[in-house]
Symmetry: C5
Subunit: 87 residues, 5 copies
């Protein structure tokens, strides 16, 4: 999984039907040599801009939804505790 | 998912039979440390050159088609709103 | 698989229900040109901070759990012997 | 998918039984910030050295064969038209 | 697939039960812009240190075993002929 910070919302009115209702956010990897790499993730656990989160990628991301047929490859799976200083 | 801009069409007359009829485009990642990385994607939601799009990769890309046996690993799944300024 | 060193714990009180009870750790790749790259992994074989470990990523990571529906994409699958000098 | 040029053949007499009869080639990514990255691909659509091709990676690559149990992760799925100038 | 050279053995006495009996080796990518990147692979076709090999990654790696539930993501699938000069 990746440690990242949510830095913005992504709005896409036109999208695949199966993605309707999902919340898209822009995440930026924090720490390590991939620091600053960005990806778009879906969030369904209530994370917000500024939160440091755990992101799962690939087929793992779809496991957070009840439907394996949604075309997503990255999702927030956890919110890192504010008092957790790591790395 | 990746935030990218569609920058060109890709034409391949000779290709796997299962890819016949699909539209291939060249996308370039925008923002973050992967800025400028390029990949070929399929589009079936009506995106065009110049559009900023959301791209799903890996097995997720095949979910946008009705058939899981098509050998693609990247697809446009959404078109980012023109007035969406992110990052 | 990746050779990495476990460098810290990651605490995330708010997370997907299916992740409750799993232990998250921060790993840093050792050696090669990816040296210093970081990722979050789960550990269920008793590894600790400072250990050099073997990490499996992608769908392989879920094979270490009894349930293929957990949204994880990286897991410790082995602890490298202390007297193993490689590379 | 990746845009790449086929630059050589790869010969491996000793290999997994399920790979017998497959043609292996060396491909080099063209364009973008991954320009020059190399990977080994299988080709079963008649591509040759010098051709610019579309390469699918991951589980998608296996979809070009009739058998999902072949251990390959990259395959030529299309040959880019000679008069297609992109990027 | 990746072209790599096997450069060492990796010993891990403590590991997931399903990995018992598998041979782990350290591989280093040769050629291209990923030259020098390292990963741990399993070998069950008799490769040795110094051999140049073809490595399959991701779910493809598991296809070389008879069991899809082993948590590995990289395996030697072929040994490049000694007289094969490529790239």
């Amino acid at each position: 999984m990746l440690a990242a910070r949510l830095i913005d919302n992504i709005w896409a009115t036109r999208k695949a039907d199966s993605l309707k209702g999902l919340k898209f956010m822009l995440a930026e990897i924090i720490g390590g040599s991939d620091n600053g790499q960005r990806l778009i993730v879906i969030d369904n656990i209530g994370a917000g801009i500024g939160d440091r989160v755990i992101i799962s990628t690939g087929s793992a991301a779809r496991k957070i939804l009840d439907n394996d047929n949604i075309p997503i490859d990255a999702a927030v799976v956890g919110i890192i505790d504010e008092d957790c200083n790591f790395g």
